[in-house]
């Protein structure tokens, strides 16, 4: 009894002596991988950023048949400081995108969502952190990317998901993503960037089951200055939870090729 009391007291003293940053790191975190925080796990964001990364109120959806389940839920947004600093021409394009959102959002066609969008879609994703590279496997469309943790490599060609080079800054995983093809949107509201986009992601554990995500967006063709999104991701802890398969191609073929059925095939 006395010993336990003493032990606890010693522990409190020891904690008090640790710097504040180190204290949060000791709270039941998963074992490190090669000395770095282990971000591995099944993660998902809450919220409605995929509808619109900016704050928005509830709205009706495009199909009255879907009633309440097809309506747009409200959200506080994930853009730091609310404003997205579009250049004038880009702002016009964003408005056009918004007007045509139900037709032109690439994700409607099961096209790759790009970065950062893949990280806050309403689907989970799995991080597999090795002592070398780090895999991000997204449930939506079986999309995936590997973050190269070795010597940074220049993008070989422009792609939807970009080319990811990462490094650790203390306990934060920093990933530079470049080499985008400029075809992905940030959300269903038509926010977008060009092929000059550069995304700098910062991933850090807040505790064992909460992952902080910050992405700095730079694109001099589209924005007047860099801006940021902030998202918190939560670990799936349900027994048996795992990444499932959502291969959406076959859900989109009537939408994409249906005009041929009617005009060409006459069926």
């Amino acid at each position: 009894m006395q010993k336990r009391f003493l032990g606890a007291f010693a522990a409190i003293l020891a904690l008090g002596a640790l710097p504040a940053a180190a204290q949060t790191r000791t709270a039941n975190l998963p074992a490190a991988v090669a000395g770095h925080p282990n971000l591995s796990g099944l993660w998902q964001s809450f919220g409605t950023a995929d509808w619109d990364i900016q704050g928005h109120g509830a709205e009706p959806g495009p199909f009255y048949q879907l009633g309440a389940i097809g309506a747009v839920p409200p959200g506080i947004g994930i853009v730091e400081g609310e404003e997205i600093p579009y250049l004038p021409a880009a702002l016009e394009q964003k408005k056009k995108n918004l007007a045509n959102r139900w037709k032109e959002d690439p994700v409607i066609k099961c096209y790759m969502p790009g970065i950062p969008r893949a990280n806050y879609m309403p689907f989970p994703f799995e991080i597999i952190e090795s002592q070398k590279n780090i895999l991000f496997a997204y449930e939506f469309g079986s999309e995936n990317r590997v973050v190269n943790m070795g010597k940074p490599e220049e993008a070989v060609t422009d792609t939807w998901m970009g080319t990811s080079n990462g490094h650790w800054e203390g306990n934060t995983l920093v990933v530079d993503v470049t080499g985008f093809n400029g075809m992905a949107w940030f959300d269903r509201a038509g926010n977008f960037a060009s092929d000059s986009l550069k995304v700098t992601e910062r991933w850090s554990l807040l505790d064992a089951n909460t992952l902080n995500y910050e992405a700095t967006i730079e694109d001099p063709k589209t924005f007047s200055r860099p801006w940021k999104v902030n998202v918190i991701l939560y670990r799936h802890r349900e027994p048996g939870a795992r990444l499932l398969e959502f291969k959406c191609v076959e859900f989109t073929e009537e939408l994409i090729y249906g005009d041929l059925r009617r005009k060409v095939l006459g069926k």
Binding site: A31, I128, L135, V156, T157, V264
Partner: protein, 362 residues
Amino acid sequence: MNRILALGSLVAMAAALPLAAQTTAASKNTAAAGKAFSAPKTAWGDPDLQGTWTSDDTWGVPMARPKQYGDRLYLTEDELTAREKQVKASEQRIVNPSNDNHSPALRQLEAEESGKEAPAAQGAFGRGVDAAPVPGQFGEYARRASKQTSQVIWPADGQVPPMTEEARKMQAAAAATRNRTPSTWTDWSIYDRCITRGVAGSIIPVIYGNGLEIVQTPGYVAIRYEMVHDARIIPTDGRAHLPSSIRSYMGDPVGHWEGNTLVVETTNFNGRVGVGPNGGGTLSEDAKLIERFTRAADNTINYELTIDDPKTYTAEWKIGFPITHEPGYEIYEYACHEGNMAMRNMITGTAAVEKAAAEKKK
């Protein structure tokens, strides 16, 4: 478009590899290297299978064994020498594209356009040791000659066991559908539609895109495949399979380690992909696929796949081949569906052919 881009880069990459590096890799790949080999471990003590791998070296090895080899899984020295010559020739067509025989398919096309007879294609569409080398324009080729006579390693005769009566009927029904002119998207394969190539189809070598990448973390092994893009997350913590209500193309994999071997059992299939190249063929929903990955050398993993599907096949069978690490080989984004212009072209092309045929009849 995306496919073409990726191809171009691969060809450029292959050409840029120093020949010396390729030869070194080849010499390391001999069976003898396996004996003294001590498998590397991850920082947490699991066997380390990580890196990029390709099944290219099995290109040209037929799935089922040509009858002349009987129960023999490996080529004789003479047969191997002959295959080595062919592999060398196909490598030359990649490394030296100015070679007149660069592309049999291109020569064929040029001949058709000029209205002249195509040059004899020397068994271009044969398989195995008798096959002509891989058409160079596709950029992937065996870097070293496979010693195997077939991809099927069990049963001993190297043949795919007969299908069950029920599976034969289903296959015949599917073939009847295929024999009519394909008109709408569902008439093309799951692969043509850029949906997936399935577990077996993602690793069985085809004309290009045979690369995969393995990434590990404590309790998990992940395998991602380049072509059509899939990522399998394989838990090795002893958990049970998903309930049977949850089915999918790639199934539900669970794994465990047996010594240095990763054993992956995959179930919960949706019955819509098979075990052929690119996912062709048939497997039932009840199929169980068991894969074994064993590191055999620094640059080699021995891959083995057991097909256990009593609804489809009258016996269990196995395919197996080495997959190799090649310096400089990288996995690229394969935005298949996004760039699938072929689907529109195939549908409108078929419609045009049908219309022309109908007008001819009038």
